[in-house]
Symmetry: C2
Subunit: 126 residues, 2 copies
């Protein structure tokens, strides 16, 4: 008799499908899907890029603002942006001469949910 919980996916709404890394073993498929996203975050340059993009809560930031923020060549920054985009963490749009990037919060929300464990396990119990 397993204690069924009605709808414990409280704040972890995004996690409905993927009960969090921390509570149940991840199957191979989920791991294969998730790993590239974490890998995209596994580089200091990309972390800073994402951070620069995301903290623009207004929404978007122009590449022309991002590139000079790093001691790297323009193609290198462009490459990192591409990886972040392929990971589903950001998206972009060309608008005239410039290209603007913005965060895709669905993905960061999902990661956060996956890394969040039922805070107080005692809370859901009883």
């Amino acid at each position: 008799m397993s204690k069924q919980k009605p709808e414990v996916l409280g704040r972890a709404g995004a996690a409905e499908c993927c009960p969090t890394l921390l509570t149940a073993p991840l199957d191979e498929e989920q791991a294969a899907e998730l790993a590239p996203v974490f890998k995209a975050l596994g580089d200091p340059v990309r972390l800073r890029l994402l951070s620069l993009i995301a903290s623009r809560q207004g929404g978007e930031i122009c590449v022309c603002e991002l590139t000079p923020a790093f001691d790297l060549s323009q193609p290198t920054v462009s490459h990192h942006l591409k990886l972040l985009r392929q990971a589903g963490l950001i998206d972009c749009e060309r608008r005239g001469t410039w290209v603007y990037y913005w965060l895709r919060p669905e993905m960061t929300d999902r990661l956060a949910a996956i890394l969040t464990r039922p805070a107080t396990a005692a809370d859901t119990a009883s």
Copy 2:
């Protein structure tokens, strides 16, 4: 009594000290410190390992249970465990013949906090 105490530094509290990737630009030092942790998560094998370890809420799991769960050689699994440990995500202890690993929730909590944004951005705005 389902009401939480105010000092629930579960996910919100932790986010206060480390302003989260998503609200303020990360400086180089923070990025350099954080990236290796995400990098450690950026591999499907390590994600599954961490998941296997973490879902043992009781606490620990023996390496002898982890190794056969993968289609990999024993040294390879050992290598991945080492990386997870170096990232601060898990810790281990030898007990007689066997070695046991367990999760370090401080680290996953920290990552979750960093990826969690102030839910309602309008809320923090005055």
